[in-house]
Symmetry: C2
Subunit: 147 residues, 2 copies
């Protein structure tokens, strides 16, 4: 067991082909985690996990992130009710990134009131943004309070 | 225009609700980019882009990343032929992450010989890894050379 509570990092072969989860965190102790709606396969949000939030995610079966702005453990939906129930959690070849397939409870994942955070596509090399969904799914003010 | 060639960052409202792409890079000048197969909706890989690789991605319509290990621009597939044709590119509410919906050319995205890098699910709180695809799609040695 390594200091972060997970298996120690082995050699390249063990990391890529092995059956032990030995996650690699960056210099800040974080790893990107992409949440995807398990049913619609829409990308919901990209956030970060530290070792503790990753452990909590595995224990609870609900997405727990590390809030970089608030510098605290962030159990998604704990206040808004917009909990993400984890159906499947994956890691990649290097074991330095996470994908979560989730059932998104409530109206949406994004604090702006949308189903997910990736609601704009980048159009043309000059980078105009086009919206992929019209209007809001919920009133962010009433769910999250004034921002 | 800001120094990185994209629109300058506005206030929170402009960033979240505006129509101008004003990407935010981290302290290392990077941003995570998640590539998803546009047809199967399988997550393919999570890599990083700097401003130049993001500009090149928008110009070429093919995924161009920044290789953190080689510290160079990485036009995915330039040597392997496993190019990612971008069908749609999105950003999130904070404009600090990218999702690419791509047509993956060749046999797969992952240097291990698999269709994508997220070929293992994490099972149980103790973190055993289970494989989501059996065998390899291609011989990594013949595509990428000995590693």
């Amino acid at each position: 067991m390594s200091e972060n509570g997970f298996a120690p990092r082995g050699d390249k072969k063990e990391i890529e082909e092995g059956g032990l989860f030995a996650p690699k965190f960056d210099a800040d102790g974080l790893m990107p985690a992409m949440a995807i709606d398990a049913t619609t396969r829409e990308p919901l949000m990209l956030a970060y996990m530290n070792a503790e939030s990753l452990r909590l995610t595995l224990e609870k079966g609900e997405a727990v992130y590390w809030s970089r702005s608030r510098k605290e453990i962030w159990h998604k939906g704990a206040t808004s009710g917009h909990v993400q129930k984890v159906r499947e959690i994956r890691t990649d070849c290097d074991q330095d990134a996470i994908v979560l397939f989730v059932d998104q409870l409530g109206e949406g994942a994004c604090h702006t009131g949308r189903s997910g955070c990736f609601y704009r596509k980048i159009e043309g090399p000059e980078g105009r943004l086009g919206f992929t969904e019209e209007g809001l799914r919920f009133d962010p003010g009433s769910v999250y309070g004034k921002s």
